[in-house]
């Protein structure tokens, strides 16, 4: 019996190795900081990650090892902080070290606690304005049996670029975040319009407290659909961090709870999608290469410099990470890629449309300006949720050489006529002189004889 179970486990693990569901483009090792007593609460989420090929390392908030950063080198590719109730997460996980993790291109999922914690100041650094401690998001809508702090949030298709598939309503319990106008913030799950942040203990003074906090002005009231329950932030170097208002979104209990009769909640799908976006599985692009050459020639060899008014063809090759296959595939789906031809300021900005024949190739032809100088081909593509594409190729543009100007102009015909006439006349004259008879030969002979 024991042997049979072992054999079954071996077979299952072998099978899971074969059917890897979705892989990250930056690596597989994940550190999960979670209280060991609560680890079973999130077993569905962790198993989903393991089935996709991630290697999870669990660490208690009180433990010191394994360290996230050692000697300025990150030990893990991704980090999940799933212990909001812990007072501190260890000496090496502080807001400063989390920011350093991001600058070292490690992706992080942070679950925010309802009570005051250093993670609140971390969220403020990223432009998230959190409600006062002890006021989670509550909503009396829709009317339901669960407490008002456990809210089913419907997810509209295409409401956030980070969610790539349809998701059933998600059970959420936690704090909302008000967003600043920073364009690097990507709300993944917006709070419903009727929800607001308030203390869970409703007394006779609660209504007046709400009114007074709103009259304080500015950010006094956290309410409505401008709030976000789960927010993502993509740093300029490509690293992603997700702020989740509460850890219960990932829990098994909410994943199996029904939102409507016979309809399971979308928590499992939603947790997987949040992990997929944050761990660089979805919406990850890169430029494979760029090339440029003159338009009218058949070669595609790049020139070292171009001349004013040349017609230049510029091509870029873009791939997208395919999480299911685990490799980079050429991607022609960018509809609004733009190219800038810049010398201090952009001289030319044109669209870079995809080429039908070659997947992943984007190409355009344009005329180099008639100012000479050192220019750059710049691709600077930033869209919310997607990796930013940056590419800069320096190319000199020189004025035409002495023989690069247009020649044989119609205005010069009189001069050509005159010069050619002169040459022809010289030839005729010299022929006539050389080949002609010396006229006065006989008279000279006569003169010579007479002189004698």
């Amino acid at each position: 019996m024991f042997g049979f179970r072992r054999w079954c486990l071996l077979a299952l693990s072998a099978a899971s190795l074969l059917c890897v569901d979705a892989k990250s483009s930056t690596g597989d090792s994940v550190l999960v900081v979670v209280d060991p007593n609560n680890q079973d609460k999130y077993s569905l989420f962790f198993d989903g990650l393991k089935d996709s090929g991630y290697k999870l390392t669990f660490r208690s908030p009180k433990a010191e090892k394994p360290v996230v950063i050692a000697d300025d080198v990150p030990n893990f590719d991704h980090v999940i902080l799933l212990a909001p109730e812990a007072r501190n997460l260890g000496k090496d996980i502080t807001p400063q070290s989390i920011v350093q993790l991001l600058s070292l291109k490690t992706n992080v999922i942070v679950t925010l606690p309802t009570k005051q914690s250093p993670l609140h100041s971390l969220a403020a650094e990223f432009g998230l304005i959190l409600p006062p401690p002890g006021s989670p998001l509550i909503s009396y809508f829709p009317q339901r049996d669960t407490p008002s702090s456990l809210i089913p949030i419907p997810v509209e298709d295409h409401s956030s670029p980070a969610l790539t598939k349809h998701i059933e309503p998600v059970w959420f319990s936690g704090i909302p975040q008000a967003l600043s106008t920073n364009p690097l913030l990507i709300p993944i799950l917006r709070a419903p319009a009727e929800s607001f942040a308030s203390e869970t203990l409703v007394t006779s003074g609660s209504a007046d407290a709400l009114v007074e906090s709103a009259e304080k002005g500015g950010e006094g009231l956290w309410a409505g659909s401008s709030l976000s329950a789960v927010t993502g932030f993509q740093a300029t170097n490509g690293a992603r961090i997700a702020f989740v208002g509460g850890a219960e979104v990932f829990s098994d209990e909410l994943a199996q709870k029904e939102v409507a009769p016979y309809v399971k909640s979308g928590n499992a799908d939603f947790s997987r999608e949040v992990a997929a976006w944050t761990f660089q599985e979805n919406l990850v692009l890169r430029i494979d290469g760029v090339e440029h050459h003159l338009a009218h020639e058949n070669t595609t060899v790049a020139k070292e410099q171009y001349t004013n008014n040349d017609n230049v063809v510029f091509s870029a090759y873009v791939s997208k990470w395919d999480a299911k296959q685990g490799r980079w595939e050429p991607y022609s789906g960018l509809k609004d890629l733009q190219l800038e031809f810049t010398m201090l300021d952009p001289f030319i900005r044109t669209a870079l449309p995809p080429v039908r024949a070659t997947p992943g190739k984007y190409s355009t032809t344009f005329r180099a300006p008639d100012r000479h100088g050192v220019f750059k081909f710049i691709i600077d593509y930033k869209r919310k949720g997607w990796t930013s594409l940056q590419s800069s190729t320096t190319i000199p543009v020189v004025p035409p050489r002495h023989d690069g100007y247009p020649r044989f102009l119609s205005a010069a015909w009189p001069y050509y006529a005159g010069a050619i006439s002169t040459s022809v006349a010289f030839l005729l004259f010299s022929t006539a002189w050389l080949a002609g008879e010396a006229r006065d030969r006989s008279s000279r002979k006569a003169k010579g004889s007479k002189a004698e």
Partner: protein
């Protein structure tokens, strides 16, 4: 009656008993700067007011109602009494709690000349105004009241980098206009003018024909040919050669011309000595 002072822990499952709230004497009034009423209507929880409410810069909108329990008619102070302004075209939203007394009496005032911070910026569409009432142990109410048209406002402030996250306007370089050439007819005419001396020459030659007796003699013809070769080298240089090439060919041709020239000129001088 004041809402029950016993604190209700929301984390416990709330009772199934669903009591219903309703509004007593709900109405809204639009008054202008002088105090005369422009529009005074009741609004209802059941159907939406059809015509949009238009507020000019100096008008005031006042909304009053009383929240009561439907069964016993006693006033209730709900936990959440919000008025929500929403612009569907831009997604901007503004929410303000309405001050409700212990007896359920609520009063809300809006004056566009002192615009409150929560009002969303206007766009081409009117704002949708709705009322949200929620409190434990009662059915929640969310209802569209009316559409509101406000005087135009500044657009919402955006982050300075926001524009770079969308398609940016195309830039084109204005090139210098192409060089303008005079019409070809003029060039042809003046080219023809330069041929005028040829006309004179041909005319004179028709009178006095030079005799080229020694043209094909073997001492003179090579020199004439090398002169012709020099002129054609010059023509080819003008068309397509470069300086280095023409100097190379010129050097070779020059060497040939030295010999043919010596031969030709010496033969002519010997002819002339005779």
């Amino acid at each position: 009656m004041i809402f029950s002072p016993v604190a209700v822990l929301l984390l416990a499952a709330s009772a199934v008993q669903a009591s219903v709230l309703t509004l007593q004497s709900p109405k809204f009034v639009v008054t202008d700067a002088l105090g005369s009423q422009l529009r005074a209507e009741p609004f209802s929880l059941v159907h939406r007011t059809g015509t949009p409410v238009k507020l000019e810069a100096k008008d005031t909108l006042k909304i009053t109602f009383q929240v009561v329990d439907k069964e016993d008619g006693k006033g209730v102070q709900p936990h959440q009494t919000f008025i929500r302004f929403f612009d569907p075209s831009t997604g901007e939203e503004g929410i303000q709690p309405i001050r409700v007394t212990g007896g359920g009496k609520a009063k809300f005032e809006l004056n566009p000349s002192k615009p409150p911070l929560y009002l969303p910026p206007t766009s081409t569409e009117p704002l949708k105004v709705s009322l949200i009432i929620g409190t434990p142990n009662y059915d929640p109410i969310t209802v569209r009241l009316f559409d509101l048209i406000l005087p135009a406002s500044q657009p919402a402030p955006t982050h300075p980098d926001e524009a770079s996250f969308h398609v940016r306007p195309e830039l084109h370089h204005t090139f210098r206009p192409d060089q303008k050439l005079p019409p070809k007819a003029v060039s042809l005419f003046f080219a023809g003018l330069t041929f005028a001396p040829w006309v004179v020459l041909i005319g004179l030659w028709s009178q006095v024909t030079p005799r080229l007796t020694h043209l094909f003699s073997p001492s003179i013809l090579p020199f004439i040919l090398s002169l012709v070769a020099f002129e054609s080298l010059l023509l080819t240089y003008w068309v397509k050669l470069r300086l280095g090439e023409v100097l190379l060919y010129g050097a070779g041709l020059g060497l040939v011309t030295i010999f043919t020239g010596r031969q030709a000129l010496s033969s002519i001088s010997s002819l002339r000595k005779d």
